[in-house]
Amino acid sequence: MLAFIVRRIAFMLPALLLVSLFAFLIMQLQVGDYTTRFALSLGTEGVKTLQERYGLDQPWYVQYWRWVKGIMTRFDFGISFQTRQPATQQLFFSAGRLGWTLIIITATMLFTWLISIPIGIYSSTHKYSLGDHVATFFGFLGLSVPNFFLALIILWFLVVVVKVGPNFGLTIGGIIDPQYVKVSWLSLDKWLNFLWHLWPVLLVVGTANMAQLIRYMRGSLLDVLSQPYVQTARSKGLAERAVIWKHAVRNALNPLISIMGFWIPFLFEGVLVAAVVMGLPVVEKGYWDAIRFEDQYVVMSGLLFFAFILFVGNLLSDVLLMLADPKIRYE
């Protein structure tokens, strides 16, 4: 297994190199660059000096080579034009963005699995019952609601129906209210405040995946339940509960684990939307700001980072699958 992981990581590097080239070429397609916006205030001369300072006057392959060389030799992803900080600093570490992204993604994963797996199991063991139809309908609905619209509806609910804000003592948006930022994590109030900000995010990011998971779990368990070994287990006189939980569910989960990596891009989309609408301090927000300011090195680093996360996610799901299913061996 170790050899497998090492080989996969070795394959990841050329793929990431390709992504970097791709990201770079997209940014090169832009008409003008970051300095264009200063054309009026600095004049042609000023823009030229600025371009020279950032190396933007060089041909694209020179710029690309410098960028890649910087990454490989010094782990330097270029600088952010907005703040003159290293791009990685801007994207990941200002306001603890990387940490929040990881926390939100992990929390969403846990939340979606904890809710949708039981619903999926119920749905398939009570096929065509009222509950199954309701679950299926909500599944379809969850798939069909744009993330941003769900976020807006939740905001509307909070503002108009619950009337949060000044008279509720809580704010909407952000991840922690300002007065709690400096408080230690040992305080219960801070946790409550954090959870209060977390639940809308979980819903916005998780709903589409939840709908998907319920459908997969239902389909997968239905497949397994029609297998001969389940019949055997039943005819042995095992309790239905043992048949389902010990024999069927364990096997039905395997295909779900194998596609776990696929969800990461969708989680990303959800987090991006939630970050913009609700103002969260996450990596995706940094990416969004960079997009708006044409901060090319930050955008490129962002694209690379997202691809990296996807590759790691795929690798993780393969490893998990190996652990869960002894039949699977990667040579």
């Binding site: 793929a15 390709l18 992504v19 791709f22 990201a23 997209i26 940014m27 397609l29 832009q30 008409v31 379809f140 609905l141 798939l143 069909s144 609601v145 744009p146 993330n147 941003f148 619209f149 807006l152 509806i153 905001l155 509307w156 503002v159 108009v160 909407i172 948006g173 589409a208 998907q212 459908r215 997969y216 596609i259 696929f262 990461i264 891009p265 969708f266 990303f268 989309e269 991006l272 939307v273 913009v276 609408v277 990416y287 969004w288 997009i291 044409e294 955008v299 962002g302 694209l303 997202f306 691809a307 996807l310 590759f311």
Partner: protein
């Protein structure tokens, strides 16, 4: 296959919803009481008109609206609109309103319904979904937005389908290093979240680009981010089918590669591919709406549902002008309809073979 599809109630419901929306979109100039771009400056931020059947005199079969009167909200100090019960405007059918050109054939100003006052100052206006800052009727704009929101999905799929057949076909049919190269490229495009890629691409479009040009660039960019999964599906099909006896037989008879691809393999897999394409449409609609919502997509004077919701990015608008959220429900209904239809088609074509999911493609 059609029999099986028609037995799927939700599928039929989805398909008829899409047809209905398409008809409405086609005749939106006529059905909407106003023109989508027409500004009624006196009525900026007017809330949705409420339609009445009862007044002091009792019930009337003809619905009516009360006149709009500007008033000052005592608590907030901002202008709001109140109903002026002294003025009654019946809602009529086949009335005169904003002029428009009927499919470029002839000019007319007849609309399906409205108050028929045809006067920008008259208090008798029918704003079913309220108005925006400039007093443009949201209902008429939603109808007009249906055109782009409905069109963009199939259009993008058509293009990415074409790309998918070319690249997936080559990849699956020839194999070898060509296959390897194409597969690596699809992997890279699939490795980056599509919204991130779309936003990066959208920054490339010059801000001053003509809205129509911009629309086509967006269609093309959406196709660029969605061709890869389709290519994989098509490649898989070609890999399986090129080994079938009929392909070998065709080759033995001396048929060239293109003949085998287009005359023998493609017809055998086309239903399957059409279903995959249908299942991919909802995603395109969702992506377009998100892109336009973030103001990197469709721009004025074109209208799409996502674009109509741009203003709701601030909590203030959600609180005081909640009718701006209405276009979102149309996105949900359309995507839901496509999902139902795709699911029914999948069941009708073959209940077992297609494991493709709608979100993952």
């Amino acid at each position: 296959m059609w029999r099986r599809f028609s037995q799927h109630k939700l599928g039929v419901l989805g398909a008829s919803t899409i047809v209905l929306l398409a008809v409405v979109a086609l005749f939106s100039d006529f059905i909407g009481p106003y023109q989508p771009g027409q500004q009624y400056r006196n009525f900026g931020y007017a809330p949705p008109s409420s339609i009445h059947f009862f007044d002091d005199g009792g019930f009337s079969f003809q619905p009516f609206v009360y006149g709009l009167k500007r008033a000052l909200d005592p608590a907030l100090g901002v202008p709001v609109f109140k109903e002026d019960t002294a003025q009654k405007f019946p809602i009529k059918v086949w009335v005169e309103g904003d002029p428009y050109s009927f499919f470029g054939l002839f000019k007319t100003n007849v609309h399906l319904f409205g108050t028929g006052t045809n006067n920008k100052r008259s208090a008798g206006q029918l704003f079913l979904f309220g108005t925006d800052k400039f007093g443009r009727d949201l209902f008429s704009r939603v109808l007009a937005g249906a055109r782009i929101s409905l069109l963009i999905g199939p259009l993008v799929i058509l293009i990415s389908f074409f790309l998918g057949i070319v690249f997936g076909g080559i990849s699956g049919f020839y194999g070898g290093w060509v296959d390897n190269a194409i597969q690596r490229v699809t992997e890279v495009t699939m490795a980056v979240p599509r919204l991130a890629l779309l936003l990066a691409f959208a920054t490339v479009i010059p801000a001053k680009a003509d809205p129509i040009v911009r629309f086509w660039i967006i269609v093309f960019v959406l196709a660029l981010v969605s061709w890869a999964p389709l290519t994989r599906v098509i490649r898989g099909q070609f890999l399986a089918l090129r080994e079938e006896d009929f392909a070998t037989a065709a080759r033995a008879l001396g048929a060239g590669s293109s003949r085998i691809i287009f005359r023998h393999i493609l017809p055998n897999t086309i239903t399957y591919l059409v279903v995959s394409a249908t299942l991919a449409v909802p995603n395109i609609i969702l992506l377009e709406s998100a892109l336009s919502f973030f103001s990197y997509g469709i721009q004025e004077p074109l209208v799409s549902w996502g674009m109509l919701m741009q203003k709701t990015q601030s909590v203030f608008e959600i609180e005081f002008h909640p009718w701006f959220l209405i276009p979102g429900f149309f996105i949900v209904i359309t995507v839901l309809a496509y999902n139902f239809m795709g699911d029914a088609l999948r069941d009708a074509v073959d209940p077992f073979s297609i494991v493709l999911s709608d979100r993952q493609e």
